[in-house]
């Protein structure tokens, strides 16, 4: 259930500002323009937090708070008082009223979000459906590095995706960016002057808006001290320089649980087809391996009984292929799935060099594979 926020303020302006501040979050915001209305809405909606103004007509915030605290059903609702008066006397008075926190006007939206975020869990809208996001969905990636060349390298590393890279060379600019936008992933240089990368990470984690956003550190492979420190403080991961585009994309995909299976698994003519790319790097092999069981099980569950592993694009048959091929064939056996392998003459020849794959039998095309699968007399590969 979404958290509920009740704003009680006679100023429509403040109610609008509160509503706008929490728009990016998966919350319901309720409004009341005085204490009497506030009590009625609180009784009806049982909000998770109340943002209460002090100076209001009909019933002011102090009286409203006293009534909330004397009502057994409402007394446990945390209240943040909003006041235009920051004087010592007023602050002491508020503290004695039993409020969770108070905020002095004027206030920045970010401060309001942070204070509310201390009391209730704020999830960005859509956070719960991230699993459904695909690799080819547009993503926003914030890169914070004082070296513009690195930002450019990352832009070109993801140029084959619809992702947008927002480069910032100063930490202040990155904070400003996040106050206006919610990036899907953040990359921060661990070697910014004065430990600024680590300080920035703490700020991201302290902010309700970015606390769940994956944050990766970036440094050279030999900077083991920085890598260890990043691991200890809780960075999502570390990307080493020089950047490997596949590794970078793979790490971002995993952190966001992006669905990349459509790149490798398709259903065609009642057959599940696993198409291996031209180059099977360890990262890609691992990615496919993780998707293999759920995708095959899903196909079987939907009534499919045949599978083709298409290695026709592969340029090299190496240990990554051997492991993946064995897993696929074993899985087909476990789930009683008929299967066929498609391979170029080069792949077929290389497979004969491995003990584990020397007996694999290949066909040259999908049509041949389907024909063999439909032949009741044919023997599986």
């Amino acid at each position: 259930m979404k958290p509920k926020i009740l704003t009680v303020d006679d100023s429509k302006t403040i109610r609008l500002i509160v509503g706008k501040a929490f728009k990016p979050f998966d919350v319901d915001v309720f409004e009341a323009s005085n204490g009497v209305e506030g009590l009625a809405v609180a009784s009806r909606e049982k909000p998770d937090i109340i943002i209460l103004d002090i100076t209001m007509p009909i019933m002011d915030g102090s009286e409203c708070l006293a009534k909330l605290k004397s009502n057994p059903d409402l007394k446990s609702i945390p209240v943040i008082m909003l006041t235009a008066e920051s004087g010592r006397e007023n602050v002491l008075k508020i503290a004695k009223m039993g409020v969770r926190d108070y905020l002095v006007k004027p206030f920045k939206e970010d401060l309001l979000i942070e204070r509310v975020g201390r009391v209730i869990e704020l999830k960005a809208k859509g956070e719960g459906v991230k699993k459904a996001k695909r690799y080819d969905d547009p993503l926003s990636v914030l890169v914070v590095d004082d070296k513009p060349a690195i930002i450019e390298q990352i832009k070109s590393a993801v140029a084959d995706t619809p992702w947008t890279v927002h480069g910032r060379t100063q930490t202040g600019e990155a904070v400003d960016f996040c106050s206006q936008n919610l990036p899907d992933a953040i990359l921060v240089s661990l070697t910014l002057p004065d430990n600024a990368g680590f300080t920035l990470f703490q700020m991201f984690r302290a902010s309700a808006k970015t606390k769940a956003t994956p944050v990766f550190g970036m440094c050279v492979k030999t900077a083991s001290e920085e890598q260890l420190r990043a691991q200890q403080v809780g960075f999502t991961g570390v990307v080493t320089k020089p950047l490997d585009p596949d590794e970078l994309k793979s790490k971002i995909c995993r952190s966001l649980n992006l669905d990349t299976s459509y790149k490798y698994f398709q259903q065609r003519d009642g057959v599940l087809v696993l198409s291996l790319p031209a180059t099977l790097t360890p990262n890609v092999a691992n990615e496919i391996s993780l998707q293999l069981r759920p995708k095959v099980a899903e196909a079987v569950d939907s009534g499919l009984g045949k599978m083709v592993v298409d290695m026709g694009q592969l340029r090299v048959a190496d240990v990554n292929l051997v492991r993946l091929g064995i897993s696929a064939i074993q899985l087909c056996g476990e789930l009683s799935l008929k299967h066929r392998l498609i391979g170029s003459s080069l792949v077929q020849q290389e497979c004969r060099n491995y003990e584990e794959t020397k007996d694999w039998q290949f066909v040259a095309s999908f049509e041949e594979a389907v024909a063999a699968l439909n032949d009741p007399m044919a023997v599986a590969a």
Binding site: D10, S11, K12, T13, I14, L16, I17, K20, T55, P57, T83, A84, E85, S86, G87, R88, E89, N90, K105, P106, F107, K108
Partner: protein, 166 residues
């Protein structure tokens, strides 16, 4: 407690700080002190005056004047709305009232911390072409500012102690 020249000077400092803080934080606008002879002053169009009073050991009222077009600009900035999205004068009035409430709320805190305790009134708004004439029993001070090259006037009126005692 008599109104001394020192206290007026203190209010001037407080007003400057409160106006700068409120406009900077809520509207992301820089406010600069200006002299009354600045070319941008006074506004030729109808203006909006938002007022909040304070009453107690010290009693008075603070008015904030802007042109109606600048008030609209303030509303857009504070609410993150475009000019077309601003829904009539009521929304602008509410924003200007809230700005006055924040400025005078902060002023009140400064006064209370100096022992000049008081309570505030709810904001009120007046629109049109007019000027506020002080009564003889009150002391008046006008502070001139510019914001985005537009004039912004803050007028503080304080009743003399004899009046307050009466």
């Amino acid at each position: 407690m008599p109104i001394t020249p020192l206290m007026i000077a203190d209010i001037e400092q407080l007003i400057g700080s409160c106006v700068t803080d409120v406009f900077g934080t809520m509207l992301s606008m820089d406010v600069h002190p200006a002299s009354p002879s600045d070319p941008a002053d006074p506004p030729s169009e109808a203006h909006v005056a938002s007022a909040v009073g304070f009453s107690g050991v010290i009693t008075g009222v603070v008015y904030i004047y802007t042109s109606s077009s600048f008030a609209r600009r303030c509303a857009g900035s504070m609410l993150g709305l475009t000019d077309a999205e601003i829904d009539g004068d009521e929304m602008v009035n509410d924003v200007m009232g809230e700005i006055a409430n924040m400025v005078v709320g902060n002023l009140k805190s400064g006064l209370c911390d100096r022992g000049l305790t008081c309570v505030l009134t709810i904001p009120s708004i007046v629109r049109g072409r007019f000027s506020i004439e002080p009564i003889s029993s009150s002391e008046r001070k006008v502070f001139h500012f510019t914001c985005e090259s537009r004039p912004l006037l803050v007028e503080v009126m304080i009743k003399h102690s004899s009046e307050r005692a009466a």
